[in-house]
Symmetry: C2
């Protein structure tokens, strides 16, 4: 019965990008970790379940972060006057080299896991570094939090600093397979994901080998795609025969299809690349804060959403500086307005319900049925006390949600559930 | 001696937009509310002053908010899918009509004053509404916080909803003068400022009368300028003889000169308007979060900064949603990157030290010598415990400042001083 109960409160979730569902003072039913739906009164068949009354709090699906780099957690907000390629060399790679030191990794990853636990995020796709031991330790620490995570040992065998560059493709693949064998099925909530860093840092041989590992172990893939104009130009030089940046992954079976792939950014995707993503069912991790910080530009999220391409949000720590997916949702709305004003007035800005959809059900789809309270979804929830944001007049639930997207802080989270297990309970909890 | 003391800690301030000064473990000297400078050791002549050791905390000048609307505090994050003119009609004006109700005003303004007190802001230029009594109450509440504020009773005598539109220019001017007589010199920290809302809402007769009041009472002026393309086009229709939007204020003596004026936004200022601002010493309140939220665009802050036009930051509650000037500084940096990428690559993005300058000394100049610890400046300070943002490696003071700009929250503020008086002391305070 531990994972079977009723939560009472103001329940809000997305049915579609345009359709926000809001049930005031209603009952969300969790049975063995799975949502049975939301009801205005307790259905007869659930009368015996324990009930937790969350008062006037908001009950939202857990947030999903489709793209972030755990070793960059302590680099948040640093070096943000640089663009992508220079920033990698001067800020990102130097920090990642520190993860060969297990004491450093222990401290940094402990801080990261604790911060992620205290955020509204319940599921995430996470990059580690090339260091196998530190990656394994990160997976353990995350598993202890109860959050559901895909974690990737990063592959790089070219165009990377010596101490982060794997000796050659064979070594990289051997070590990656050893890591997969070691971690696949080992944890309750954490799973490995193949992680070629990005095309400029991966030889064709490495990519081909990762494609074979994907088939052998039926693994998902995460990487970067069409983020920055400098990077895109470089990929054109490196893979002159590919019809697009995405095609350069697709040639090796690393671009969706049988097993899901999530590609971060897609700021500068060409029409051919977008068509290919659509055909392969590739997930987009939209990372607006990072794209702004690194001067990459603004991805056409409205276009992707209207085309029905699977999409969620990514904080992209530390291209993005905030670990909060609420802040990412805020930025997704904000930059979509600037994009219309400055770049292309044919694409309407994202609305708050659409950004909320991306933050929950949109990204959740990468994990199966997650990110909603509809029947059959994994029961992931955050209970938010938004009393700090109250007004002298009564606000609608959709107004309260808007305020939470733009103004809530981690300290407003009272409870967090993943798969029906309570993983966080904060002071003044209901 | 109450306002004479030494603060020890990591002191950071701006000398110029490009020159950040950082004094680790040093002594900031306050004598009768005025800064005497920052010293690595206690100078002999100050040996007898009481010393407060702030440990490893950061000591920054208080932040300055050059533009915000107090009655919109509870509207933060609401209606942000609308552009300026529609948003005024559907979100802003309906809220302002509520301030004819003194009970509503009491509650809303109390919340606002409390929130401003708990922020890092020490000085602000604030709009109230057309309601004289509520405006006076706001001034009292702010005076009790110890913050230094200019507060404006708003003038509108055309193109406004009936219940916010003053009967005619004569009535508006009579009531405004009554309010000035009543409040000028009445408070310790709060002063009246003339506040024609924006040109579309003010007749020529009203503007001319306000120009006369400005001379008679030697008052500063605040208003809006060239915010949104729809508004700018409207002003062209309403004031066809003016060479620019700014010139339409200048004709009535409301655009700087002998007494300072601060104009919010300046997103779409023409070269003629910029020349006029420069000649008149008009202050710009740069409000990047608001300009993004309302789809107004991105002001060329780099251009203004390099031209030496006086400029600070404005949260523009509730066009902007965050009351934190740190967040405004973050946005100023962020949007300057998007502006370069999407609009005009000749203007370099703002750096973190430049944004910090705008948030402190840049805006502080509107209040005289404020926003720095240089000798002779008003001693306004915030003591920030940034322990939450620490990393496993040692960060430089300038890195710690970057983190504070992007990631600090109000709860990190331990102490706040205005004119050498402690106005805020929070739990776990040093």
């Amino acid at each position: 019965m531990e994972r079977s109960f009723l939560l009472r409160g103001n329940v809000i979730w997305s049915e579609t990008p345009r359709k926000l569902a809001a049930a005031p003072r209603s009952y969300a039913v969790c049975l063995d970790g799975v949502s049975m739906g939301v009801f205005p009164e307790i259905p007869e068949r659930y009368r015996n379940l324990p009930l937790l009354d969350c008062g006037d709090s908001l009950i939202l699906p857990g947030l999903v972060d489709l793209h972030l780099h755990a070793p960059q957690y302590h680099n948040r907000a640093l070096g943000l006057d640089l663009e992508l390629l220079e920033w990698l060399g001067r800020v990102t790679y130097p920090e990642e080299t520190r993860f060969s030191d297990s004491a450093y990794a222990e401290r940094a990853y402990s801080d990261f896991a604790q911060a992620l636990k205290q955020s509204a995020t319940t599921r995430a796709c996470i990059y580690a570094t090339v260091h196998t031991e530190a990656t394994r330790r990160l997976m353990e620490l995350l598993d202890e939090t109860g959050l559901c995570c895909f974690v990737g040992r990063v592959n790089m065998d070219r165009n990377a600093p010596d101490n982060l560059c794997e000796a050659d493709a064979e070594t990289a693949l051997r070590e990656t397979e050893r890591w997969i064998e070691d971690t696949l099925g080992r944890y309750r909530n954490v799973k490995p994901i193949l992680t070629p860093r990005f095309l400029p840092a991966c030889s064709e041989k490495l990519l081909a080998g990762l494609g074979a590992l994907r088939e052998k172990y039926r693994l998902p893939v995460q990487s970067h795609l069409s983020e920055n104009t400098g990077e895109v130009a470089w990929v054109k030089q490196l893979a002159p025969d590919s019809q697009s940046y995405g095609h350069a992954y697709d040639r090796f079976g690393l671009f969706g299809g049988d097993y899901p792939a999530v590609m971060a950014h897609c700021v500068h995707s060409t029409p051919e690349e977008i068509d290919l993503m659509e055909r392969r069912g590739v997930f987009i991790a939209h990372c607006p804060q990072s794209n702004t910080n690194l001067g990459s530009g603004i991805a056409p999220a409205r276009l992707y959403l209207d085309r029905g391409i699977p999409m969620g949000l990514g904080t992209d720590i530390s291209g993005g500086h905030s670990l909060s997916v609420f802040r990412t949702a805020e930025e997704a709305i904000s930059v979509s307005k600037l994009r219309r004003r400055l770049l292309d007035d044919s694409l309407r800005p994202l609305t708050a319900p659409e950004a909320f959809y991306l933050a929950t059900k949109g990204g959740g789809a990468f994990f199966g049925k997650a990110g909603s309270f509809e029947e059959g979804y994994r029961f992931d929830a955050v209970v938010i006390d938004d009393g700090r944001l109250a007004a002298p007049r009564e606000l609608t639930l959709s107004e309260r949600l808007e305020k939470v997207l733009f103004l809530s802080e981690d300290r407003d989270i009272r409870l967090k559930y993943v798969d029906g297990l309570c993983v966080l309970q904060q002071e003044e909890a209901v």
